[in-house]
């Protein structure tokens, strides 16, 4: 089938999921006892003022009507206004998304680059020394709280060694950020040959990226190993051995046949890792979407929370879609080829 046809079909299949996501986000906030009216009105409001606010927020309407209004707003891009920032939530989110994406990209990229080879190598010699050590490390990675790791790294590399800058934001306060091209301070300063900014941006990036990489590598190592072991015991690898193919060749076969499940897995991991990333942003005051969202939740900025959660969910759906498409392209068995 043609490529454009395929993309269209896949996108259409995702729409029910999108609707579900909007619905769940809507219910998520409504389900709690959190009273947005109380927060907006303040402690000195009268009963009348309460009612007024309630009506203004549309909370008098039956639930299904509220949902339709909400869904309609979302489609038009109106995510309400954050009472913390007094700006439209959509604006807040837009300005911060790229910032988080940068951290996510480097962090997960590094995590995958570390995790996949380790997992593969462990699978080639199961229960050997390397495998046992790697599995322990991976389980350890599952057990370390990200925020604690961030704090420890700040302590060691900033306080003790003075190698890293303080965990505040993406670039030193003394340095001017580079001109906006991609939104990534690092890339933009490199592109504009602004070496001072590049250095500052890089030094601010290192610790959070390493934190995210360590935490994301743990499940990747474990799952890559499991996937590779399954491939190794499959008919095709057994037959490859029977053909007398060299070990190097057999390993290539294992790797290629593991690629699709690994990509799928990393795609599903991204969802959880976005949450972890938010915590890292919080610790390092990264100024991205994660920090914004966490603040909103903790301070009860109800519309902002809704927008934040919705964005995360939509991002996950997008990731699933992209992974689907990538796999369809590289797999000879897919319906595309």
């Amino acid at each position: 089938m043609k490529f454009s046809q395929f993309i269209l079909r896949r996108t259409l299949m995702v729409i029910p999921l999108l609707v579900g996501v909007v619905f769940l986000t809507f219910m998520l906030i409504r389900v709690g006892g959190l009273d947005p009216v109380g927060l907006l009105a303040g402690p000195t409001a009268t009963a009348d003022e309460f009612d007024m606010i309630r009506e203004e927020l549309g909370l008098n309407q039956p639930l299904w009507k509220q949902f339709l209004i909400y869904a309609g707003n979302v489609i038009q891009g109106d995510l309400g206004e954050s009472w913390l920032s007094n700006r439209p939530v959509l604006e807040d989110i837009k300005s911060r998304s790229l910032i988080s994406l940068e951290l996510l990209f480097w962090g997960i990229g590094l995590g995958t680059l570390i995790g996949v080879p380790l997992g593969l190598r462990a699978a080639f010699r199961p229960n050997g020394r390397f495998d046992q050590i790697t599995r322990i490390l991976s389980l350890l990675g599952f057990s370390i709280p990200t925020y604690w790791l961030g704090l420890v790294m700040l302590f060691v590399f900033f306080y003790l060694l003075r190698w890293a800058p303080p965990g505040m934001g993406r670039i030193s306060l003394m340095v001017n950020p580079p001109d906006f091209i991609t939104g990534s301070y690092l890339v933009d300063s490199l592109l504009t040959a602004n070496w001072q900014a590049a250095h500052s941006a890089l030094s601010h990036l290192i610790l959070p990226v390493i934190c995210l990489a360590i935490v994301s590598a743990a499940p990747i190592i474990k799952q890559t190993r499991a996937i590779a072991l399954e491939v190794i015991s499959s008919d095709s690898v057994r037959y490859a051995r029977a053909c007398g193919l060299k070990t190097k060749t057999v390993r290539e076969i294992v790797f290629k046949n593991s690629a699709t499940p690994i990509i799928t897995f990393v795609g599903t991991e991204i969802t959880g890792l976005v949450g972890t990333m938010s915590l890292i942003e919080y610790v390092f005051a990264w100024g991205g979407l994660g920090q914004y969202g966490l603040n909103a939740i903790v301070r009860g900025d109800f519309t902002a929370v809704q927008g934040y959660v919705l964005t995360l969910a939509l991002f996950s759906v997008l990731v699933f879609l992209v992974v689907d498409i990538i796999i369809a392209v590289i797999e000879p068995r897919s319906e595309l080829n």
Binding site: G32, G33, P145, L151, Y159, V305
Partner: protein, 294 residues
Amino acid sequence: MNSTHSDQVSLATRIGNRLRGISRLSPTATAGVVIILLFGILALFSDLFMTHDPVSSYPDRILQAPSAQHWFGTDGNGMDVFSRVIYGAKFGFGIAIPAVIIAVIIGVPVGLVAGYRGGILDEVLMRIFDGLRVFPSIILALAVVAATGQSLINVVLVLGFLDSPVFARLVRAEVLALRSSIFVESAVAVGNPTWRILFLHLLPNSIQGAMAQTAVRAAWAVRISATLAFLGVGIQAPTPEWGAMIRQGAEFMVTGQWWVAIFPGLALIFLVFGLNLFGDGIQDILDPRRRASK
């Protein structure tokens, strides 16, 4: 395969053999159990191990480094960190165990019914679970707890609830596989009522995989509850919960008083690690992919 000697050997020896067998097959499971038991003892008998009262503050000894008197130093309120860390084990278990129990109590029956009945109920449930998967679990837990009220009970309920889809899905998968098997069909043919089939026939056979997950989900519950406390949601200072302690210690990390946040973190890591070791080890044993010895 039963050994013909088993009748003559005493129960104690058989148990010993089984334990030795398990530890040979999976040293990780054994190590995990040891760690969990260690923390269990600390949690149950914390009075024996604490050197000071965990919520008493000594205003003249604020932020003291670890010393002979205060093994883990004191925090910003002058409280003994060591005793607080020991006491915190209670929260680890106190949250994780009920949360996992709730998750199992909700998830397993749902999985049984959804897998056995199928139809609309199954479809709807699966769609809901699929829909939930696009939300990062941390954020979901955080948002719901923040919205529904920040008490300990709430944390346990929310975590249990959010964890149930895992169990439901596992049990459902097993039930689907077993549903068309001979022994279930004969049970139906004989005329057993549905509930009997579900609980006497299907449940014992589908539950194995789910049980292996309990340790891993408990580890998750411990982690998440600490994360919530760290963010200031759920449990607050001066309660000696590890996450809350890390929260308090965060500001001191960059001024050099590392002990306030590091020790609770280490305790947290250790317990979660033990649970993960155990869960991983059990999964290894149950999975045919394990390699045999010799």
